[in-house]
């Protein structure tokens, strides 16, 4: 339930968040200055390709990265509390009861040797002083809530006995066990069939409305994001290069990278016999990031200015912001936003 005191302050506040992995001989700058706020009851989708830092950002919210090799900097607040300063016990309290996470592969996230009922009741009793019977009754209600058929019987099932869609529902039930205010979803529908994916998206939307959850939904699938998100943030090389309300970002994208991503999904883009527009090249190496805009070397509009330094966040609408040096020089919407590029010559 959203806390009334914090109804007007954001549930999640990231300011200039940086996450660096230090391994011998190498420093991988996975997240390089992310600014993001998620309000109570808001659904924000983080979109990006692999290596863009979207999952690293998400896991940082619960400080799930190995402490020894990970270096954090910047501001990371959840429900007004500084996560980077938390001790072990505070962190354990945060995980589960304030913030919970669901993953892409429930079979790996769930424990194979305990029944689902045992796993959920354990989570409940870890955080609340209730009897075993009461915890089980709550688990049953959760199973009903996520619409698992014959829930009573399914509580005694092991993860491997269920289908992919049912396992994902069970993982959502487990995540909701301690009534978190924030749900973090890391590609929860990527491994599912389209027919099951839409069921899970609808379920998440319904739970979000009913429980007033804030959701951060990480995906590379713009379609899945469009089905669930109020706002969207597009990541590239560890930065949010554009964020705004979902409808606005999808219809009036400003950053050349967002435009190219969306263009590949737009109507007519996949016409038979027509070559697909591609973004040439590959994302930069996160251990050797360029000084300038990280997208510059793949960008059709790059100029000298783009190589000099990081573009600042520029507001282009009430909640819409973009990081691009050449924002004013970009052609208007509908113009040729992408040069047709032959693949590697």
């Amino acid at each position: 339930m959203p806390d009334m005191q914090t109804a007007h302050s954001p549930m999640i506040r990231l300011h200039d968040l940086q996450v660096e992995f230090r391994v011998p001989g190498k420093r991988v700058q996975a997240v390089n200055g992310v600014n993001l706020e998620v309000g109570p009851g808001e659904v924000v989708a983080l979109i990006g390709e692999s290596g863009s830092g979207k999952s690293v950002t998400l896991r940082a919210l619960m400080r799930l990265h190995p402490e020894r090799t990970t270096h954090y900097a910047g501001t990371l607040e959840v429900a007004g509390r500084d996560v980077l300063k938390m001790g072990k016990r505070e962190l354990a309290q945060l995980r589960g009861s304030s913030v919970a996470m669901i993953f892409q592969e429930p079979l790996l996230a769930l424990d194979p040797v305990y029944t689902l009922g045992q796993q959920i009741t354990e989570a409940i009793r870890q955080h609340a002083p209730v009897s075993r019977a009461e915890a089980r009754a709550r688990a049953l209600r959760l199973f009903e809530k996520v619409r698992i058929p014959s829930p009573e019987r399914r509580l005694d099932a092991y993860p491997h006995e269920m289908s992919g869609g049912m396992r994902q529902r069970a993982m959502i039930a487990l995540a909701l066990a301690c009534e978190p205010q924030v749900l973090l979803a890391d590609e929860p529908t990527t491994a599912l069939d389209a027919t099951v994916q839409i069921q899970i998206l609808l379920l998440l939307r319904e739970l979000q409305r009913e429980l007033g959850l804030s959701i951060v939904f990480v995906t590379h699938d713009i379609g899945a994001a469009a089905e669930i998100a109020d706002r969207m943030a597009v990541m590239y090389a560890g930065r949010i290069i554009e964020q705004g309300p979902a409808a606005e970002l999808l219809t009036r994208p400003r950053h050349p990278y967002t435009r190219a991503l969306l263009k590949s999904r737009s109507e007519g883009a996949m016409q038979k016999g027509r070559r697909l527009d591609t973004i040439q090249g590959a994302p930069p190496d996160l251990s050797r990031l360029p000084a300038g805009c990280a997208f510059a070397e793949r960008c059709a509009f790059a100029a000298e200015t783009c190589l000099g330094g990081q573009p600042e966040e520029t507001r282009v609408g009430p909640e819409h912001s973009v990081r691009c040096w050449r924002l004013d020089e970009l052609p208007a919407q509908g113009g040729p936003v992408q040069r047709a590029e032959p693949v590697n010559g």
Binding site: M166, A194, T195, Q199, L202, A260
Partner: protein, 356 residues
């Protein structure tokens, strides 16, 4: 390297009208281990592919779609003969596989496959050029010629041979590895390539590059593709015809445009409606199908889709539809389109009117 196919391929036996590969009543069941309780009962099996028949035409791209567990990948492995069928027949350009005219070895040279996982499908201890040259040397090409062919192919798939030939798979990105896999598949100059979710693991921008490459190669080498994917947008773009599978059976085959514009089978229609929109103002309000696909160990009686079908009638539970032509160029397995099946047709006519 072969030139662009303007002249007829000397390996082409039956002419352009004869299907490149005819699949006849192909069946593959995977028996389950007997457990304590089931010892006396009938032997259970996963009915992964349950008697499917279709043709792959010369020069076409045949898309294959369906939910996981519908038998797409088992079909791919059967086509490639990586797993033997229980029954059924493969006829390649008029020659039955296993007959004196076509040994497995000859067939394998003409049929190649590209898998989903670009990393596990390459030998980690072999350089890229050795992986590509391996197939030809097995088939009797000299080491020198095989290596030179490997270099040509690397250039052809967009990887500069001087930079990439000596690398190992772990030194390449996912997109680059998949290009190597494509080059390896081409090394034996096959006529049919089976692409089993070959671009599914790639990022969208890389996926587009590889799809363009596949289209170019198809043109250049006169290839025929079987394109298996769960991404319906990509299947529509790539395919000439599309085959829809459900629980080990073929439920619909049609040209890609016809299938996407006017799906006949209720399952195809639901599958298409499950694709997410990119318009947040027109979000999906109700899931087109509820639940997961049923268990292929014990598929539903009658029409296998009746448990999830919005148009199911009592007859559908009892009677299995026969896969056949419902209108020219369109085949479907549904009692709705089967004359005299006992399906009360008036209700669909009514439904179609109210939907229009």
């Amino acid at each position: 390297m072969k030139p662009t196919h303007s002249a007829r391929d000397p390996r082409d036996l039956g002419g352009p009208r004869q299907p490149l590969l005819s699949v006849r009543e192909l069946k593959k069941h995977f028996p389950l281990k007997k457990t304590g309780l089931g010892l006396r009962g009938p032997r259970l099996a996963v009915r992964a592919v349950d008697g499917i028949s279709f043709d792959i035409l010369k020069g076409e791209t045949l898309g294959v779609v369906g939910e996981s567990g519908c038998g797409k990948s088992t079909t791919a492995r059967l086509l490639m003969q990586l797993t033997p069928q229980d029954s059924g027949e493969l006829v390649f350009d008029g020659l039955s596989l296993g007959s004196p005219g076509l040994s497995l070895r000859d067939y394998r040279r003409q049929t190649q496959m590209v898998f989903q996982d670009s990393y596990s499908s390459l030998n980690p201890r072999m350089t890229v050029e050795d992986s590509i040259a391996f197939g030809p040397t097995v088939h009797g090409v000299s080491q020198r010629e095989a290596l030179s062919r490997a270099h040509d192919l690397l250039a052809r798939v967009g990887l500069e041979p001087a930079r990439f030939a000596g690398r190992y798979p772990h030194e390449l990105s996912g997109g680059q590895r998949q290009r190597v896999n494509i080059a390896r598949a081409l090394a034996l100059e096959p006529r049919l390539i089976i692409l089993d979710e070959s671009v599914s693991a790639l990022d969208k921008s890389v996926e587009a590059q590889v799809l363009n490459l596949l289209q170019d190669l198809k043109q250049a080498f006169g290839l025929t593709y079987v394109f298996i994917s769960h991404d319906l947008n990509v299947v529509r773009y790539m395919s000439d015809r599309v085959l829809v599978m459900y629980l080990g059976e073929v439920v619909e085959v049609a040209s890609a445009d016809a299938l996407f514009e006017q799906p006949l089978h209720p399952y195809t229609a639901a599958l298409l409606r499950s694709m997410p929109t990119t318009d947040p103002l027109r979000r999906t309000e109700q899931a087109p199908l509820s639940g997961d696909p049923p268990n292929p160990i014990d598929p539903p009686s009658g029409c296998r889709f009746h448990t999830r079908c919005p148009d199911a009638q009592a007859i559908c539970r009892m009677r299995a539809p026969v896969f056949g032509e419902a209108m020219p160029g369109r085949s479907v397995a549904c009692l709705k389109y089967q004359p005299g099946s006992g399906y009360a047709a008036s209700t669909i006519a009514l439904k179609e009117v109210t939907h229009a």
